[in-house]
Symmetry: C2
């Protein structure tokens, strides 16, 4: 029987999911054709059809990480300071899915810092994220919920706080359950709104 386009798409989704699961449990350091094949219950030979080289597998994984990050559901309800809070809550590992995604992002930092092109690309992504956040900060300043101050500077601080909280929560999930992460974030936002 000839394979249909549907078979092909379904297989691609299975491969993507297997790559994702390997990264979520073993990180980029453990991302090998053999590990993906085992996760998929397939032969390494089949995998080489998709990924002729290790480099192709790593590039695929980085693309997958970016796509899944871009397409993940986001909080949209808030305005003003609530919109700043929503953007930061969207980053934190508050669900198993967000934990996997963050764990893969943190894992990818090693590869990204070792590769000048990738490092530049990551720096650009984080800068864009700060730009989007600073627009929300500026909007919260217009409503008077945040005091005046350079929005880029405030966004950089908020991004730093959130990224560092991600790292802490990944290493110590029992000490940083979702409720504590949210409390720490809300305390941080409360200090921003105070006079200074």
């Amino acid at each position: 029987m000839p394979r249909t386009k549907g078979d092909h798409e379904a297989r691609r989704r299975d491969v993507s999911e297997a790559v994702w699961q390997v990264m979520a449990t073993r990180g980029f350091a453990g991302l090998t054709l053999r590990a993906v094949a085992a996760q998929l219950g397939a032969t390494t030979g089949l995998l080489t059809h998709y990924f002729p080289t290790k480099q192709a597998l790593v590039e695929y994984a980085l693309d997958l990480l970016e796509q899944r990050t871009l397409s993940r559901p986001r909080r949209q309800a808030g305005k003003g300071l609530a919109a700043v809070r929503d953007a930061l809550l969207d980053i934190l590992p508050l669900t198993p899915e967000a934990t996997d995604s963050n764990r893969i992002w943190v894992s990818s930092w090693d590869a990204a810092l070792s590769d000048p092109a990738l490092s530049t690309d990551y720096a650009r992504k984080y800068a864009q994220s700060r730009d989007r956040l600073s627009e929300r900060v500026a909007a919260a300043q217009e409503t008077g919920e945040l005091p005046p101050g350079n929005p880029q500077h405030i966004a950089a601080g908020a991004q730093a706080f959130t990224l560092g909280l991600v790292v802490q929560a990944l290493f110590a999930p029992a000490e940083f359950p979702p409720q504590r992460q949210i409390e720490l974030l809300d305390d941080y936002l409360a200090t921003l709104t105070g006079p200074h």
Copy 2:
């Protein structure tokens, strides 16, 4: 001529420095016997004398990271809030040496998150670091420089902020030169001292 103990010690220092340099430029993902041998100007054969397996090399590198972190010079002058600030400044990549050290720490997170024993060990290290910081926070509360509040909670927030700033500065050193890192930290500390 027989080798002396001094030769042996000197060679060990050379090997340590080569391992350190490889990690600082290529991360744990790029840490191989071949790369260390090339850095040292030695043969891979000589290196297998020190590191019979890749795992032995990785364990050595993790120990070296911990030793160099423990033995690095620290700011000691401050009391009260200044002591909190000093502890956080000691973490930031404000010098080339501190940048290398941070880059290696961030690189090691991938391996650490993939290994349950190592992950537990890292969580313990970060918890100890928060404990030490919370003692300084409590002291700054006693002097009245910081407002009342759970010192552990405040220390966790400050650690998150600092770790996240490390990551941002590693990816975008031009955007986060030492002076900007210090400004962002001082702004963060200023928000903590304000009433809330």
